[in-house]
């Protein structure tokens, strides 16, 4: 599936589980072990929940990539919601986006190897990558 894109729309809460399942399957196919599968699934939950809770709808897409290591899984979460006003603030520990208990975006950053975010009036796009070790 190198370079091929899988996209999962996030509209209702159950789509979070669908995105997790797709991400986990792809991760397993790429050779990620149980620990990384669980971490990737957790990151997807967090990204998808953010879309569901704050943007209403959006999508999560998956792509096999090459770079720092020969095999990596790139996940892009995008929405056309109101955008994040203060990104640095949201990236601080203790300032959770999904209602207190979640790992929040700092958690997503810790779970993955690469993290980027673009947010403005047109919505938010978060790009993360996990490399196979």
């Amino acid at each position: 599936m190198k370079g091929a894109l899988t996209t999962v729309p996030i509209i209702k809460e159950l789509d979070i589980v669908g995105a997790r399942q797709s991400g986990r399957n792809l991760a397993r196919d790429l050779g990620f072990g149980s620990v990384d599968q669980a971490r990737i699934a957790t990151a997807i939950s967090e990204l998808a929940r953010n879309i569901y809770l704050y943007a209403g709808s959006g999508e999560i897409s998956f792509q096999e990539v090459q770079g720092a290591s020969p095999v990596g899984l790139k996940i892009v979460a995008s929405d056309h919601g109101p955008g994040i006003e203060n990104v640095s603030k949201v990236m601080e520990d203790g300032y959770s986006t999904s209602g207190g208990l979640g790992a929040g975006l700092p958690g997503v950053k810790r779970l993955m190897d690469e993290f980027d975010i673009i947010s403005d009036d047109n919505g938010t796009k978060i790009i993360v990558v996990k490399w196979l070790r």
Binding site: L14, I16, V17, R20, Q21, R24, A38, A41, T42, S45, V87, S88, M91, G94, L101, G102, A103, F115, D116, I117, I118
Partner: protein, 335 residues
């Protein structure tokens, strides 16, 4: 190390459900549960619960597997300890953070300066600390004739000590007379203040400018400060402000040179601290040209928007983690 036994019961139910269905939705629920119980249940207790649930489901479990759980739990004790320390540390950190935030707010109030409203000169400025407290500083004054004095300074170092020291500079400047004072004189006075507190081991770089609104002249002097730029509209290019002078606090009696430039319609004066030009993106240092390019792209906007857009651009390039305090001032002549 007490645990909420009611919450942990859910673990048992979810585990059974997962073994029946192997459904991702149960793993999702397990993840949500673990977030909720995380505060009260430590990792060795989770494993104990896991083991006990398995024992009920598989009474004739291989004795090796049983023993292996004793071993796993012993290994997890260190993690349980780290886990308890983590919660204590978070509480302490929050207390300290709250204290520093109060001090930072106070600093913001104390150091606050309002941007002068002048016909034909549009001014934008921002100063963002890398940590909670700011070791950069900018200040505007306006004399009776409407001329604008502008100071931009950076304490070598950042964080609480730098911020603390910067408040000293502020009080020193406030004690100066309000009438028109030339850049070189101000730096010479401030040098004495900083030098008097030389035991503190702190040094300050400062650029001081005076904009003569009648004659459209910009007088300035520098005490080892990061050079700024003048954008010349006619040539459509930036020229580095070429000035020299010793940092504040190094020597007792220092004389500063004073320079003057004419400012024409559409020109921009760009003043900054090294937190703007020396910002890094991963292993790559951002070139000064890149900063100037962003300013050029935005030059048609109001000065405050130019400043804000440059900050947003560089914030993202640095992955939303500033490595140094960031201060940028743009003064735009438009008649």
């Amino acid at each position: 190390m007490s645990s909420t036994k009611s919450d942990i019961k859910q673990y048992q139910d979810l585990l059974k459900q997962y073994l029946d269905t192997k459904d991702e939705v149960v793993l999702y629920q397990a993840e949500q549960l673990s977030k909720e119980i995380k505060q009260d249940v430590s990792p060795d207790e989770i494993i104990d619960e896991h083991y006990n649930t398995l024992l009920k489901l598989i009474p004739d479990m291989d004795s090796q597997i049983k023993d292996s759980f004793e071993f796993l739990i012993q290994t997890m004790t260190s993690y349980a300890l780290a886990y308890k320390e983590y919660h204590e540390l978070r509480t302490k950190q929050l207390e300290l953070k709250a204290e520093i935030e109060v001090a930072a707010n106070m600093q913001n109030t104390l150091l606050s300066t309002s941007i002068p409203q002048v016909d034909g000169l549009d001014i934008g400025a921002t100063s963002i600390p890398a940590k909670l407290m700011n070791g950069d500083y900018y200040h505007f004054v306006q004399d009776d004739e409407g001329n604008v004095g502008v100071a931009i300074a950076d304490v070598i170092g950042k964080g609480i000590p730098a911020a603390f020291f910067m408040s000293m500079i502020k009080y020193a400047m406030e004690s100066f007379p309000e009438n028109r004072m030339y850049p070189k004189v101000i730096l010479e006075l401030l040098n004495r203040v900083v030098e008097r507190n030389v035991e503190s081991g702190m040094f300050v770089t400062m650029f001081y400018g005076l904009y003569d609104v009648q004659r459209q002249l910009f007088y300035y002097a520098t005490a080892g400060h990061e050079p700024g730029f003048i954008y010349r509209a006619q040539e459509d290019q930036f020229k580095e402000i070429d000035a020299k002078g010793l940092l504040l606090g190094v020597k007792k009696e220092v004389k500063y040179n004073q320079y003057v430039d004419e400012i024409h319609d559409g020109d921009l004066i760009v003043l900054l601290t090294d937190g703007v030009t020396e910002c890094r993106s991963g292993d790559r240092f951002i070139e000064r040209e890149e900063v100037l390019d962003v300013i050029k792209e935005n030059k048609h906007l109001p000065a405050q928007d130019i400043v804000d857009n440059v900050y947003k651009y560089l914030e993202r390039l640095q992955n939303f983690t500033l490595r140094d305090d960031f201060t940028l001032i743009v003064m735009k002549r438009s008649s």
